[in-house]
């Protein structure tokens, strides 16, 4: 693995996809309004839950807002990187253009996961950070270095888990060809990441921490920010993130063995 070469290639990827996406400027504006409305909508929904209750699953409204902020950031990352690239896999496989990717002297997973970028997701990420800073103020969180590192670690682990989930599902396309709906299923499951895990019933809590670890994606980073998290939970998240990254890589290499190009 030559790191410098990959960085250089990634710079080219950024350049080309930004250039093509910026062709649709009004589109970016519409996407920004969509992101703002969607955040307003979910805060509205949250306020309905809290209108007669002080606590939900042990979380106050101000604390639950942190989860919204982290969800918005992660959703922005999904829309910027994961979604545009991984829906492309389906196209590559259906049209047989994956051949060209595999023939390139570069890692295929790298190429497929980072080729495209959707700049309108950046605005959503910024929106999420704005809300996060607001939450840090209203929850009176004292920022210090060790605490910042911990939250950075947990958020990057969340990103890794999220990426692996997306990549895992997209990889199954090699067998099923038309699975972009499967990513839609994943999307609807991820939706529950907007709410604290404790607000669900016990069986769903188990499901969302063991089967699909959505619980780890937003709840643990929020707990870290609030200073509520235990050390073992953070450690567990790091381990899970590593397992997910590793298996998604292995799964991709395994799936490639079954790839029989289209119409040949």
């Amino acid at each position: 693995m030559n790191l410098r070469k990959y960085l250089k290639v990634y710079k080219k990827f950024l350049h080309t996809s930004l250039a093509s996406e910026l062709e649709y400027k009004t589109n970016i504006l519409v996407d920004l309004i969509t992101a703002i409305l969607s955040l307003v909508g979910s805060i509205f929904l949250l306020s309905i839950f809290f209108q007669n209750n002080g606590y939900i699953g042990g979380w106050k409204f101000e604390q639950a807002l942190i989860i919204q902020a982290i969800y918005t950031i992660l959703n922005g990352i999904t829309n910027t990187w994961f979604n545009p690239n991984l829906t492309e896999i389906v196209k590559h496989i259906r049209e047989g253009t994956l051949d060209f990717v595999l023939l390139k002297p570069i890692d295929s997973q790298f190429y497929i996961s980072l080729k495209k970028i959707n700049p309108s997701g950046f605005l959503e990420i910024m929106l999420g950070f704005l809300l996060l800073f607001f939450c840090i103020r209203i929850n009176q969180i004292n920022l210090n270095l060790s605490f910042l590192t911990l939250s950075l670690i947990t958020i990057s682990c969340s990103i890794c888990i999220l990426y692996s989930l997306w990549f895992f599902i997209s990889t199954t396309t090699i067998w099923f060809v038309k699975t972009w709906n499967a990513t839609e299923v994943l999307r609807s499951f991820l939706y529950i990441g907007r709410f604290p895990l404790n607000s669900f019933s016990f069986s769903l809590r188990i499901f969302f921490s063991v089967v699909i670890p959505i619980a780890f994606i937003t709840t643990i980073p929020s707990e870290v920010l609030l200073g509520l998290s235990q050390f073992w939970k953070i450690l567990l998240e790091v381990i899970i993130a590593m397992i997910f990254l590793f298996t998604s890589r292995k799964f991709w290499l395994f799936a490639l063995k079954f790839y029989t190009s289209a119409s040949s």
Binding site: V30, K178, E184, S188
Partner: protein, 264 residues
């Protein structure tokens, strides 16, 4: 003679589209699964006893969300995405020559998909009843017919709105981002995530003037036996259809004049 011709056309279109949709059974099953968000919301409501504050019993609320799931299943519209693809690829040109508005084709596609989707939705409902046996109920025949009618009207409203957005493809290339924008108020205000009764007063005062509560909240309330104004709801649905239909015809005739086939 004319009506016979139309019947024939519609019947043939439906038959073709139904066999086409049957090819993609797995895909449609996945779509059906991706609609289970209402059940997660129900879980939040009941695990936190939030329904006590809005005076709806657990059982009625469960039925409400089950019905919301059903109504959503049979009023999903994606015409803008199909039309955008067809218009970008220049596939609309041959359709325009045919003595049949291309939207009939999409309409038949949607109906056929709903027929294919029906068994999957039933399976999901079956599992719901296994886990919540106390919620089983049998609506009486007239209510059932009325709610099927109102679900169909809700589908028609959404189909018309999306067709209007789809016609914007004649002017801009990415009309689907406008649809994504419109989807946000639909998601939060239609009653899919929380029944409209639970909304705060400052929203309830104006929401019944918009089409949103008639998309899911009204048919779901009707079917689940919750309190609702049947006559008012149905007449509002019909009113919206009468408002939207001329708008669609207008924008369609303007758009087809504007249309220049891609690559010609």
């Amino acid at each position: 003679m004319i009506s016979n011709l139309i019947n024939n056309k519609i019947f043939t279109l439906l038959k073709v589209q139904y066999s086409n949709m049957l090819e993609y059974r797995v895909e449609i099953a996945l779509w059906a699964i991706s609609g289970i968000i209402p059940f997660f919301m129900l879980n939040i409501w009941t695990s936190n006893n939030l329904n006590e504050s809005i005076n709806i019993s657990d059982v009625l609320l469960s039925r409400y969300f089950l019905c919301a799931f059903f109504v959503r299943q049979f009023s999903v519209v994606w015409v803008v995405f199909s039309f955008e693809e067809d218009s970008l690829m220049g596939k609309v040109s041959p359709y325009l020559i045919q003595p049949l508005n291309p939207f009939f084709r999409y309409f038949a596609q949607h109906l056929a998909e709903q027929i294919t989707r029906f068994p999957f939705a039933l399976i999901i409902a079956f599992f719901f009843f296994i886990f919540n046996p106390e919620t089983i109920w049998i609506p009486n025949l007239s209510i059932l017919i009325l709610s099927i009618l109102s679900t169909f009207l809700s589908f028609l409203i959404q189909f018309l709105i999306q067709s209007i957005v789809a016609c914007l493809c004649f002017w801009t290339e990415k009309a689907s981002s406008i649809e994504r924008l419109l989807f946000i108020p639909t998601l939060f205000l239609s009653g899919l995530l929380a029944p409209v009764v639970s909304f705060p007063e400052y929203v309830k005062s104006w929401i019944y003037l918009t089409p949103f509560p008639y998309l899911i909240d009204f048919p779901a309330n009707l079917l689940s036996g919750n309190e609702t104004n049947i006559r008012g709801g149905l007449s509002m649905q019909i009113l919206w259809i009468f408002l939207l239909f001329p708008l669609f015809k207008k924008i369609w005739s303007e758009g087809t004049k504007k249309y220049t086939a891609m690559g010609s």
